[in-house]
Amino acid sequence: MINQYSYGFFDDIKPIYSIPPGLSSRVVEEISFIKNEPVWMRKLRLKALAAFNKRIVPNWGADLSGIDFQAICYYLKPSERQESTWEKVPEKIKKTFDRLGIPQAEQKFLSGVGAQYDSEAVYHNLKEEWKKQGVIFLDMDSGLRAYPEIVKKYFGTVVPLNDNKFAALNTSVWSGGSFVYVPRGVQVTVPLQAYFRLNAQNMGQFERTLIIAEEGSVVNYVEGCTAPVYAVDSLHCAVVEIIAKPYSRVRYTTIQNWSNDVYNLVTKRAIAEEGAIVEWIDGNFGSKVTMKYPSVFMKGRGSRADVLSLAYAGNGQHQDAGAKAVHLATDTSSNIVSKSISRGGGHTTYRGLLHIAAQASNAQSKVKCDALLMDAQSRSDTYPTMDIKTCDAQVEHEAVVSKVGEEQLFYLRSRGLSENEATGLIVSGFIEPIARELPMEYAVELNRLIELEMEGSVG
């Protein structure tokens, strides 16, 4: 059932630190103090806070009027010490992860897990071979402590602190997230995986992720989110920055399934240098409102952007998602596939930007938006903005809105499938182009999620 969030359990772990709700320079300084951060980071946080205060809440896109910034708790730390092995992770936390399937997932597929529990990572394990190769995969706080020079060099260079109100908020109060550094020529064959989870009533999650792929390197980063249900509105406001150096390849996969009270406002952006390939795969389920437009700035000649996104909106949900492809160099190409499903009065929006700068000759871009409407109450809009400054660009745009056809249902039912089964198969088929790009266990989970959402779809 759509309103009964499947992973909506929570336990009663007491945070060791907790800062009272509300946002102020004191709160920001406190966070920085607890983390024992370098001065430059504290200053950056405060500067970002000033930027946040100056900016108004965006009045385009989804309705954000329900967010009360002063009612949100900006920092929480469940256990003091960073855990390095699974055995040392507190039993209660383990149990929570257990119900989310993490240990099994680890046995089968994972080689390294960075899991964020509330605002801190509590478990971290990185394969020895990667260490030998010089691959760094840490939570962001540890990354800052261990590699301050690298972090200082890149932090905020892709998403500047004043980029938008929510990027400013994240910069001022960030906690956790992942820090990934892949040295030149290193190919990380097994996906780096991280799980995130909100677990304190009315607290925001403000993780910050920074991925640096040096020349010729290859990395695939995967994260999945589930969150418990709370009655009070909750805020998730993350920033992801990717720097793909020449001829590197970075794939970033997210499946998010926030509970239905979460405002999910995420800034994801990558810079692709010469010949680099950046792929965003982004699945958005749940949440009350999502605004997220993974972007790639193709700065180097011959760089490429692939964005594959999926949004599901049920009753009372608005998924305002899309992609931005910014072509700034010659011979660049982008490919955007966006799929959305609206049901039970849900609202999906595709909001995309294709920008081809004057110097970006011989650019190619393909944008495909498919919206699936499950019933007459649901809604889907498409806002594809194109800003093309060259004459030789090859641009294709295709937008299709389809309905789960009565004829499709009749056809499948005439073979002995129930209406629910038939609907599930149609929707699974619709998202198949995205499911096949996911690691196995995510694809399985995604299909399970679809089945769950389709239960009771017949009134």
Partner: protein, 253 residues
């Protein structure tokens, strides 16, 4: 008790009368051909038998294996042993033929209390049917009817028919879109099935398919009513003088 009994069936769609008191009786092992011009109600008959939502049954009844068919959902009719080979099979992008076929097949087995077939065993299980229709394995990996040629769609309908093995199969204009070779394959598969006492209702505008699938009974449908029934000779009569002769007869009545 007949396998299928249609009594005085009157059906409306979009406020238009389409079937006007249709009667039809089919016994096990019989092959009935219903022929008629465009707009005579042939496809409506097929759709109403299978339980399509777009029609309003005004009066009359349909009995199948002693059950009141009009009270059953399409999937329940399927479980009873009714099958419709669609005139225009519907595409479901992203759903593979194999997944669909296996799900349907297992739904039937489950209903009968039989063990379902595991995904990894299914291909082997339907190998005889695939060979009969000369369907290659990679056909099963394609999206259901998505980008299929007319002939491929019809072959897939017949594959489903041979895999699900119903008691009564309705073939709605199955020959349209089929070339001679494909028609022969379909005929081979259907005639193979006919040995198992399955009954057929072959709905067609043209007589071509009836050269391959020999009907035991032939009915002429015009203006929503069966106005003449007979044997294979009726096909020849249509072949000679078309459908108009029946319409004129009808007016004379």
């Amino acid at each position: 008790m007949s396998l299928l009994e249609v009594n005085n069936l009157c059906v409306k769609a979009d406020n238009k009368n389409i079937l006007n008191g249709l009667n039809l009786k089919i016994e096990q092992g019989e092959v009935h051909a219903v022929m008629g011009p465009n707009g005579s109600g042939k496809s409506t008959l097929a759709s109403v038998l299978m339980g399509h939502f777009g029609y309003e049954v005004i009066s009359g009844g349909i009995w199948f294996c002693g059950q009141d068919l009009l009270r059953l959902k399409p999937e329940e009719r399927s479980f009873c042993g009714l099958f419709l080979a669609f005139q225009y099979p519907i595409a479901v992008p992203g759903l593979t033929v194999e997944h669909f076929l296996r799900t349907a097949f297992n739904a039937h087995r489950d209903k009968k209390g039989e063990k379902t077939i595991k995904p990894q065993e299914f291909r082997q299980y339907i190998q005889p049917e695939l060979e009969l229709l000369k369907i290659k394995n990679d056909f099963l990996d394609r999206s259901l009817n998505d980008g299929f040629s007319g002939g491929e769609k019809k072959l897939l309908e017949i594959l489903q028919l041979t895999v699900l093995k119903p008691k009564l199969a309705i073939l709605d204009e199955t020959d349209s879109g089929l070339d001679v070779d494909a028609m022969k394959l379909v005929a081979k598969a259907v005639n193979h099935l006919l040995k198992t006492k399955i009954a057929m209702l072959v709905i067609t505008h043209y007589q071509r398919i009836l050269h391959y699938i020999k009907p035991t009974h032939v009915h002429i449908l015009t203006a929503g009513k069966i106005i003449e029934s007979g044997n294979i000779n009726l096909v020849k009569k249509v072949e000679r003088a078309g459908y108009r002769q029946f319409e004129i007869d009808n007016v004379k009545e």
